[in-house]
Amino acid sequence: MSRVMTPLLLIVLAALAAPADAGSLRYAEDSAPAIVNPLYSTTMAEARVNELLFGGLYADDRDLRATPLIAEGATLNAAADELRVTVRPGLTWHDGKPLTARDVAFTVETLQDPKTLSTEAGRVDWVQSVSVVNDRELVFKLKRPDPQAIEKLFFKILPAHAFASRPVTRADAFRTKPVGSGPYRLARFGDDNSITFAANPNYPKALGVSEIVMREVSDKSYQAKLLLYESLEALVRVLPRDLAVLQKSRKVELYPYQTNSWWYIGFNLNAAPFDDERVRQALACMTDVPSLLAPIGTGQTLSGPFVRSSPYYNHDVPPWPNDNARAAELMKGAGFTKVGEYWSRDGQALTVTVSAHKTLESAQEVVINLQSQWRAAGVKVDVEFLDEAAWKARIWKQHDYDVVLAQWSFDRNEDVREQLHSSGARNFGGYKNAEVDALLDSARASRDPAARKADLRKVHAIVHDDAPMIFLWSLDSYSAVSTKVRDVVVHPFAYFSFVSDWKML
């Protein structure tokens, strides 16, 4: 049978064979960007595309320090409430038109215009007004003094001449014909949801990769396979289970990178019994964090809301110990008694529903292990996985949950105010602590980096004790890139920030 089938298969495959195209760098996204317009970005896939097409006044250098990109420089006045920015001379847009200070002003005003309904308005919420001095100079008036204002000049600059609508809307033709000043320009949208980017000939630096193609590969586990098949040249993030296979391949190089992301178990402090810090602390003591981490990869366990490499991480605060005796004491203090195998209060066994986002990688393994750990310690656990829409509605809007397993990702500023301040937009757990609020306000207003560091380390210690979340870990992240691509440096947040240095063999 095989004597017949093998030549038959060879003939069929050979008949279908034709040389595949080569030379471009293809990378995979789980889901293609819905819109190519930095005014309306909501996903990391969109952020990566924006990184290829657009530039900011400032960008990170390889040591992740703010360095001028479109700006030639910026000067903050002594009162730290006025920022004068000079635009680099000779810059042009992809369509050849000059990039001027007016484009910068247009971008800020458009982001701030409530009629734009921009998802990125928060990037310029520190700006009171912006005035153009001339084609190369403009002045930002700040809402309040901010010594770190230059660190906020990373938002993408848009060409005023390329937008047909005023106020700018989502439907503007720009979404299909974006014009930027980044290293790549949009060449075409493919029928298969792919997007092809061609090197920008006007870019001040020669580019080592002539074409980049974003391919949509919705099956995450298939992405590594495509890299091995040489159907892709780059994977943004490798799943822990694929690491071993890719490590063995001589055609693939793994690039570790440190992200400012951390996992946590967050409590709904508006719902009993999680409004009682003793219950939260008890659940923290019932959790064996290293055992939860081990099956899904490697990383560093945490005791507070910063990654260990952060200057704000308080190394004096140890993580909660996995100590069931201490957990029992805390539960008793909160009025619970052990009835049978479960902790009960008022005749009701403590039952916790853990909600996790469907797309959170490896969440299933973590939740199942957590369920087993907490059950063994006397807590009934139900589990639910929510899609993006249900997650936003149930968790963010309605606060209809007990406990979430989730992850926060931060940019270079590591600003945890939105998550921990009582007025924070992302504080859906309802955490309130006046001292933490004051420290976060002080850290944001501080002009002294040392004072800011001290404030945030105090925040770390207080939040650890209050336990509105059980801080879990920051995962080690790896990007996998074909060995055909050289001089690869991966930016931890935007991935393609240093793509102009990459070279294709």
Partner: protein, 317 residues
């Protein structure tokens, strides 16, 4: 088509009834979908916004806080005027009409090919006995996504082994389903025609009609006259086959979602899945209305064809 005087009346009446039924189907499908998506947790504004103020502004702009019937009425009114609105989350700002046209064109070929292939296979299988039926049922019962996964994995692994060993030049379809190719499309058409009991249903319906026609008096009379029975049987099989094919359109359209998702074919089925999961109500409703219209049109055409082909039905009408 030239319609004789005797045929025009019943045909027009049947067409009118079908058209009314089609309007009812479209209205029902869009209302049902509005209700289903509306009751699902979260909406487009939740997905597009990252703060409460923007969420409120978007909800107001997109009319997401309006009662179900108002929203539905607005959709119907717009559709009557040829405006299906704009996509909210899948392709923000893009015209729903344009998205449906583009994706529908990609899916149309697949649907037609799957129907032709299904009927083409069902007819000879219908002549087969119980063993053929059972075998078809077993093979056809495999879930489409599993069958596709097995086929793609087998082809990819086989081709990669041959490429690595130097026996095969890298084909343009490699690796499935990532690369655009005619092979990917052909697999999709076969899966639609074959999988999720699609072929088994077609075969059962065809076999039933075949058995009915075989026992029909005019076939028995032809046999008694010593004439070959199959030309008479086939001629009389045509009207019910048309009906079987038309009623199968809905099944194929449903299968499109799975096949296009698995093979990354980016047609209307894939778009519908995205629209529902991303709560893009205008796009989901536009696609549902289009699908209902296609199904109703197929039935209308099948009725007209049957009336045209079968004089007894004309008299009954």
């Amino acid at each position: 088509m030239s319609v004789g005087r005797g045929r025009a009346g019943p045909l027009a009446w049947a067409a009118l009834r079908r058209a009314l039924a089609a309007i009812g189907s479209v209205l029902g499908a869009t209302l049902l979908l509005q209700a289903l998506v509306g009751f699902a947790p979260g909406d487009a504004a939740d997905l597009a916004a990252n703060d409460a103020a923007l969420r409120e502004a978007l909800s107001a702009e997109w009319g997401l806080n309006e009662p179900l019937l108002t929203r539905w009425g607005r959709f119907v009114l717009g559709a009557v005027q040829g405006d299906l609105g704009e996509s909210l989350t899948v392709r923000p700002g893009a015209s729903v009409g344009a998205l449906i046209t583009t994706s529908g064109a990609r899916s149309a070929g697949l649907v037609v090919a799957a129907l032709a292939l299904g009927l083409g296979l069902a007819l000879p299988l219908g002549f087969g006995g119980g063993r053929a039926r059972r075998l078809t049922l077993i093979l056809s019962a495999a879930p489409v996504f599993l069958a596709l996964y097995a086929v793609m994995t087998g082809l990819n692994e086989g081709a990669w082994a041959l490429i690595e060993s130097g026996h095969l030049q890298r084909p343009d379809w490699f690796a499935l389903p990532d690369a655009e190719s005619s092979l990917r499309w052909t697999i999709g058409a076969c899966a639609l025609a074959w999988g999720s009991s699609s072929l088994a249903e077609l075969q059962a319906a065809t076999a039933q009609e075949l058995s009915r026609v075989r026992r029909a008096p005019f076939v028995l009379a032809a046999q008694a006259r010593g004439e070959p029975a199959w030309p008479v049987a086939l001629r009389n099989l045509l009207p019910p086959l048309v009906e079987v094919g038309a009623s199968h359109v809905a099944v194929v359209l449903g299968g499109l979602i799975v096949v296009e998702r698995a093979l990354q074919l980016n047609g209307a089925g894939d778009l519908f899945w995205r629209a529902c999961s991303q709560r893009d109500l205008p796009l989901a409703c536009g696609l549902a209305a289009s699908a209902a219209l296609v199904v109703a049109s197929a039935r209308l055409l099948s009725d007209l064809a049957r009336l045209w082909l079968d004089p007894r039905l004309r008299e009954a009408a």
